[in-house]
Symmetry: C3
Subunit: 264 residues, 3 copies
């Protein structure tokens, strides 16, 4: 019986090289009716944290039983494990490097399989492209209906990386720029709901970021062009933006930077 | 009854972030058999004119009943309308900002719906990502067969932006560089047929662009390498090219520039 | 009878412009059930050699009867031929410019058709975008089940470009950097098996590249961060890499460069 799962790819392979296309070829060769979508293939090379954030803020928008095949894998060719994680609603095929850490804070794990059964790999395994030789064929076979227990043995412990929480000290929130998008919006690690509750309790409702006053707004066009604002972000985390401009350039910020926000 | 429409995405979201992938997830969650193609997701951030040109020069190559879901939306979160436009042959889900202005100069409008029925939106609507929260689910439901009248009420007036026409004064055509492609070809706003008729009537058939003589040719290899030419472009508008090189760099041009072409 | 072939696109059109999207539209208009995958659309503009290498190292991972539609076509609009090449396992729709030269060193040709039947083209053929006007509709009709003989007449001779072989002189291999990927890995033209056999027979097993000692390793993490290594590449050719860094920048290399590797 053919299960009809959607397949979602998340990689740092970029789209110039043949890597993503070849992975799709391998999947299609095994499962011709596979339905494959790209989440992103432009994760910064080997940035496990960026991939973790992308996966964490995306997975719940996909249909149940979606298979997320994630190849951000600086340990390729080493003895790092490759995992098939079955959660309540989804499947994740990932290197054991922490990439699903933040997903599984919300999504209940049902079973973790350490993928080792070479029957479901390509015949020749390279040392540098397990995306093609292991991740893709396993994805193909899983979506053809192979039972998850066939791929290897169950394990319990996997690598986890902690979500960076903001530090709150009176009127100061020390946040981290956890992501910057194409438009230059600065996505912080402060949940919208947390920020809003602190803001509501403040006296002056005055917000200062990098020595500039910024106002909390409901839409970009609530401020003049080229003016900064704070907004409840679509990833559920507060974002610093500049209307019609890159906040990254305006505030000269980088991913990973820790910056205090003051609310008076 | 399931209507089988092709879905085409046109956005300025880029492919690095999760935005496009998540929109596809939302569509697939509602309509698992949805067939989705990217027209372009690399429209310059918030460039309504670039998107309008891309849509205008592309739509007719797609199958009848294709749904074009276009999210170039600087007004997101404001009170700008979101429209479902049914034309003779296609559906367009667009912000009311002029993006379909040039399409509807050729393609007859049958009905314009102001999308307002929250039943077909995601439960929580962010202020910054209506692509995910409104455009995508409406696309999913429309292609599942929901009647267009269910999405909101009919309206008649929408925002239009005028197509920039070239100005002709004797032997001088003041054109605009309306688009520059990956190869650096300069796409003008002069229709091939208009240019050809002026050229045919000229005495010397001598063309001058930016103080350089350029010849009208049928193919790139009709001139030497690194030499400029004028060619009847595939978008139906005259293009200035340089064989094996970027005309953008050769002539030092930008999108939106107005430049005279002289035909003697 | 509808044959179910996978369609794979390889172009230098990039993803910013509408070119790739429109080609998919044309294919879908003819064959609504077409299943289309991108191999890469980011081949360097007009780089036939880069496309040849991409195709050569990718095709065998795709299902039998896949149709590879390749539009890297600096001769568009000239009298260069457009070919439909049927090999033992695949179909290739390509300009006659050498792009399939390296594929057909491995994959047996069954028939070569010079595509000329305008019945299967769009009605109006531009001079600059045969991808849309010829390659795409022919792809659509081929996958709808039209017999390959219907597209034109059989020919025997096509343009071939020789694969650049490394030159071996005692302990020196003069290699060419045939490709550089997103990560900055330098892919050489030395087959893994050839390199390994020379290495095995060497006395000291000492490798020198650009005056730096590099060791042959099985995985990136066998060396310290920022250290170079040689590795059996996934394309079947030896690669020079730097752990966690771009070897392209570390060694200051370009595609096409010829560099000696010394094995003592």
């Amino acid at each position: 019986m053919v299960r009809k799962n959607l397949i979602v790819l998340l990689t740092d392979f970029g789209l110039s090289d043949n890597y993503v296309g070849v992975m799709k070829g391998v999947i299609k060769k095994i499962n011709p009716s596979a339905d494959i979508i790209d989440l992103s293939n432009e994760i910064l090379p080997q940035s496990i944290r960026q991939a973790a954030f992308c996966l964490f803020t995306s997975y719940k928008y996909f249909p149940e039983k979606t298979v997320f095949t994630c190849v951000i894998d600086p340990g390729v060719g080493s003895n790092r494990k490759i995992l098939l994680v079955k959660t309540e609603n989804y499947y994740f095929i990932v290197p054991d490097n922490g990439i699903i850490s933040w997903v599984i804070e919300k999504e209940k794990i049902e079973k973790i399989i350490w993928i080792q059964n070479k029957k479901y790999f390509l015949d020749n395994i390279s040392n540098t492209f397990h995306g093609r030789d292991i991740f893709a064929p396993v994805t193909g076979w899983l979506t053809k209906g192979i039972n998850i227990n066939s791929f290897g043995k169950e394990i319990n412990n996997i690598v986890k990386i902690p979500f960076p929480k903001p530090k709150i000290d009176k009127n100061k929130i020390l946040c981290e720029i956890i992501y910057i998008d194409r438009f230059g919006n600065l996505i912080t690690n402060i949940e919208n709901s947390l920020f809003n509750s602190i803001y509501e309790k403040s006296n002056l409702r005055k917000i200062v970021f990098r020595e500039k006053k910024v106002e909390l707004k409901k839409s970009y066009d609530s401020v003049e062009m080229n003016q900064p604002l704070v907004i409840n972000g679509s990833h559920d985390y507060i974002e610093i933006s500049v209307r019609g401009k890159s906040a990254k350039e305006y505030f000269n910020c980088k991913i990973g930077q820790k910056i205090p926000i003051y609310i008076y």
